[in-house]
Amino acid sequence: MQVSMSINGQAHSHDIEPRMLLVHYIREMAELHGTHWGCDTSNCGICVVLMDGVPIKSCTTLAAQAEGHEISTVEGLEKNGVLDPIQQGFHEMHALQCGFCTPGMMVTGRWLIDKHPDPTNMTDYEIREAISGGLCRCTGYVNIVKAIRWAAAYEAAAATGGN
């Protein structure tokens, strides 16, 4: 069946088997390898992308279910050669080691900052809870929390004309 969706603002349309999972559509059909997979039981969050701005596990979604929706992956964070503050924050705060869980963690962080009513005052608990759908084996999460905070602070400063 023909399945069409928009990924990072670009239209994609491919003839696929109905059973194809969204993570594979992204990786194989759209050829965007930044979204990874890590388990069979929807626990690890390595495959997290945004659908209409909201994090979902792309390994637990059929590509067909994304028809007509807007998918955002890690590749969509950088715009016109400028990194998103979340990406910069991960770099500043050493929030990645092997990098495998990083895309899922970054899009989740991006979503948290966007939806939170007061991002510069997020509590540690709120940040940790937001990323608790993802597993990281390398970093122990401390720096991931710091990176998300860094990005929120950066954006707030930029908004007020600072930085």
Binding site: H24, C39, I56, Q65
Partner: protein, 292 residues
């Protein structure tokens, strides 16, 4: 690739509730409805579930995703996502247990997709929302071919592990909760790790007027073949004044009346014990928020 993947399957989308039911009828009930998919798709990937056909009811979200008050009832549409129930002011105001239970149900990402209907119909004995709905004495509205509807209480709804009274050609469309005065509710859960299914969970609801318990709901998850409805404790509490001793007795009943199995989460004696502890704690906090 090599992450596990589903077997070949046919797929169609529903355009309305009645269209979904009609499609299912045309397939003689031999398809599965696909809502959030976070129970069904993992089972399909492990090839434990191999439906020949999926009817995607996500297009029904505008029609079936709602939390609203109608008269003396709160009604939740079957396609309402967990995140909506977690963040609903209406639910927080009327039934505080929703926020508590949703907070510990799966993880924040799964909650963006999973639905009320999916959770109830999956009927996993360890699942939190079934306990909540049972404690709140929710009524499930099920629609069948030709527009026929029936309303089921939770005891009728839950038939066995992963089995409900919903017929293959029917669709759960709504769950209804009566709003009565003096309500408080709470959910207690013990898990091996955040996001895991409960080792044991207890959902407690109380209605208290003039210092007396006028109604009570108590359900335990993960300690029986389905959600365990501790009706003996409910009966014992009605007409009594809330007290720690009373709740301890209710806890003892929960401990005795539940029917846990040993598994990787714990042995029988431990689960019985925790059913008692959590029931008491949930009732205690339910009383505290009823009396606030």
């Amino acid at each position: 690739m090599a992450m596990q993947t589903p077997a070949p399957v046919e797929y169609s989308r529903a355009t309305s509730v009645d269209d979904a039911i009609q499609q299912m009828a045309n397939l003689n009930g031999e398809a599965r409805f696909l809502a959030g998919g976070h129970s069904l798709i993992p089972m399909m990937k492990l090839r434990l579930a191999n439906p020949g056909h999926l009817i995607d009811i996500n297009p029904l979200e505008p029609e079936l995703s709602y939390i609203r008050q109608e008269g003396d009832e709160i009604r939740i549409g079957a396609m309402t996502r967990h995140v909506n129930m977690l963040e609903s002011d209406l639910l927080a105001q009327h039934f505080p247990i929703f926020h508590e239970a949703e907070h510990v149900l799966a993880d924040p990402v799964v909650r963006n997709r999973g639905t009320m209907g999916g959770s109830l119909c999956q009927a996993d004995p360890a699942e939190d929302l079934s306990g909540v709905v049972t404690a709140l004495k929710g009524q499930a509205v099920v629609r069948g071919p030709g527009g026929s509807e029936r309303v089921l209480g939770m005891e009728e709804f839950h038939v066995g592990p992963y089995m409900t009274a919903v017929e293959p050609t029917e669709l759960l469309i709504e769950v209804r909760f009566k709003v009565k005065r003096g309500h408080g509710s709470a959910h207690e859960k013990v898990e091996r790790r955040a996001g895991d299914f409960a080792i044991v969970a207890a959902s407690a609801a109380l209605w208290i007027e003039n210092g007396t318990i006028t109604d009570c709901g108590l359900a335990c998850s993960a300690v029986g073949p389905t959600t365990m409805h501790i009706s003996r404790a409910e009966q014992a509490l009605i007409g009594q004044a809330p007290s720690e001793d009373l709740f301890a007795q209710a806890g003892a009943m929960a401990s005795q009346d539940c029917s846990p199995s040993a598994d990787g989460r714990g042995p029988v004696d431990y689960k019985r014990h925790v059913a008692g502890v959590l029931s008491k704690r949930a009732l205690s906090r339910a009383a505290a928020n009823a009396l606030r």
